[in-house]
Amino acid sequence: MNLSLHDPQFITAEYPTTLTMTLSYGHSTSLQFSPCGHYIASGLLDGTILIIDTWTNNVTTIIKSHTMPITGLRWIYNENYCGLLSWSRDWKICIHELENSEINLIWENVFTGGVWNVDIIKQDLTWDNWMVIVCKVDGGICIVKNGEIIDIDVGNENIGVSLCCFSFFNGKYVITGTSMGWLQIIDIENLKVIKNIKICNGNIKGVEIVEKAYYDNESNLLFGLNNVPINRLIVNSSDRIIKQYDISNWYKEDTTFELEIEQKYQDVVNRIQWNTVKFSPTGEFVCASSQGGSGAAHDVYVWETSMGSLVQILEGAHEELIDVHWATRSINGNVCCVCANGMDSGTIFIWGVKPLQKWSALAPDFEEIEQNIDYIEMEDEFDLNEEIDEINDEKIIDYKVDVVTREQTDARGFKFIKGCIIDTKI
């Protein structure tokens, strides 16, 4: 709402540049920004989950559903529904629901072994028909449908253990990455593997997809974002090369799921391993946290995805960074924001863009200029001319005003996200 009053340079900033905040609330092991940008969910070493308010930097809610370090968190979110999915080293997956501004545990399950990765299968997101995909440490993947656990036959081929998963195409498919460098695409409707692709020799540590806005025949938005230029897949593997693919052909009918490599990101000199790799919400940028080692710097690298150039190294953390997340631009004025947690202290680091005070905002008749101007006064400039004022007053009279209809998009053309409200106990 306030963006149209800001400096254009500030609102067009596309990626963060400066460390704006560090938060030390326990030892954070995983974190995620809420889709509205108002909250950060931070999972701690002792299994506690904190919901941190980004305006006051206060802890809004403390959730105690786990007993071991939290390995991952996902917000479940649409216009009318908000929840939080968490998984931990205690082999448990929990689903929390926001109801009456309070977060309640609605489902939990202890698996027979550890859990590598979990994702929500985005089908409508009404809780009656929710689904979650789970990559298990003891091999194999399963889905949880309405509380029921269904194993998926991943085939007999020797392709390793699935380590990471990501749901796409509105929950129609899931992509998983395995310990032997294979990508596997699973059809969720038929619970069948439909494609195996070998892309490298190392472990695949992370996969993520950004999707363009996809409309049905009546041009209702089904999924995706209208600001995303190309459907993209990013793969983080232990061969130290981040691979980015154009997957536009996956959204056509009768697709054969061909991968088209777009970019490869790597540090050729230091041969850095990447801990976590994430897209920006529009897929125009990609950020990655680098793994320790004596020579490595503890930074977050930001690349631009169409040309593949390194645009920013986010510095300021004095320890290795584990999880990293790029916040969805939000209605609360966050232009763009990246957060990451440190391995040794568990501090959360937040990088953003700092708006500057426009001094001309304080006096309406002042104007900011780039350099001095030699001003030449016009002959009649300070003549008193009362008639003009009256004419101006006349003009105003038939001004049409609409005091009710709200803007649908902000000053940059992004759709407003209705934020979820979580109560803070005062």
Binding site: N2, L5, D53, N334, I396, Y399, V403, G419, I426
Partner: protein, 318 residues
């Protein structure tokens, strides 16, 4: 053009605070309670449905200038001339936090939508942003040179608008506290009159300001334009001495604004034509100013209070 009043008096409480002066009235966001506050150092909570007194909140030791309900209906905040702000828990009817730091009378306050931040404006010329959980001052906005009379937040909480006796309306970024814009009306006479009240329109695209030259003005703040001016009839001012509240009425596709005046009436204007549509008599004693008009559900129910303590509850009847 005048039409039949669209509001019917539901009930009236003549003496809300015995014979003491009252400063404002507010309806809780869920429409269950009415709160009034007075120079007798007390706040009273009334059931809106019946008009029965729920409780009296005592704690301040000087007059109370303003009150606000939190959007989650759990808390009530009050600002007082004893330079403190109290946060009351409505359920247990007790003070749970006292915020101190202002150095002069506090005039106005506003909760954010998540009920975690309170913004207050004071005669010490500062606006303070409070983190309610810590009970501490997060930020001070010192951009005015006279008492702050009124402030409001845009629907998404990102803009604070403040009106001050220095004649300026300023807009601030809530998150960073930086000033985004300043509005000044200096068309007639050169210097501008004190601003007594500011509110955002329901879509936060316009600001309705009241000033002590006796007019209400609707600002298109993006373009620095006064798009509408609302006047009392017979060349009378709306208010020249008191800071009287105003509100937008958009219930049932109405397009009205209303404000009390200093003669015990509530005036309703049509937003487009700027004409007075009708007036309501809201005080038996003719010269008691209507301090505040608050609404529930965009104008389904109105409440008004006069300086001498007469509370009226009005129902929309179309």
């Amino acid at each position: 053009m005048t039409i039949e009043p669209k509001y019917k008096l539901r009930y009236s409480i003549k003496q809300t605070h015995d014979n003491n002066l009252t400063s404002t009235v507010k309806i809780s966001p869920n429409g269950e309670l009415i709160a009034t506050c007075s120079t007798d150092n007390s706040i009273k909570l009334w059931y809106l449905k019946t008009g029965i007194l729920k409780c009296k909140l005592i704690g301040h030791f000087k007059g109370i200038s303003n009150i606000a309900f939190s959007p989650n209906n759990k808390y009530l905040a009050s600002t007082s001339d004893d330079l403190t702000i109290r946060i009351w828990d409505i359920e247990i009817e007790k003070t749970i936090k006292i915020l101190k730091n202002h150095t002069f009378f506090i005039n106005c306050l506003k909760f954010d939508k998540r009920s975690r931040i309170l913004i207050t404006g004071s005669s010490d010329e500062n606006i303070r942003i409070w983190d309610l959980k810590r009970g501490k001052n997060m930020r001070i906005l010192s951009a005015h040179s006279d008492p702050i009379s009124s402030l409001d937040l845009s629907f998404d909480d990102t803009i604070i608008v403040s009106g001050s006796y220095d004649g300026l309306i300023r807009l601030f970024n809530t998150e960073t506290g930086s000033c985004l814009k300043t509005l000044i009306y200096d068309k007639q006479g050169g210097s501008s009159f004190p601003i007594s009240n500011v509110i955002f329109s329901p879509n936060s695209k316009y600001i309705l300001s009241s000033s002590l030259d006796g007019y209400l003005r609707l600002w298109d703040y993006i373009n620095n334009l006064v798009v509408k001016t609302f006047k009392n009839d017979n060349n009378l001012p709306i208010a020249e001495k008191y800071c009287l509240g105003s509100c937008f009425i958009v219930f049932n596709n109405e397009s009205l604004i209303c404000s009390g005046n200093e003669l015990g009436e509530i005036i309703f204007w049509d937003i487009q034509s700027q004409d007075i549509m009708f007036k309501l008599d809201a005080s038996e004693i003719k010269n008691s100013p209507i301090m505040q008009v608050d609404n529930y559900n965009d104008g389904e129910i109105l409440v008004s209070i006069s300086l001498n303590g007469e509370l009226n509850v009005w129902n929309y009847c179309g």
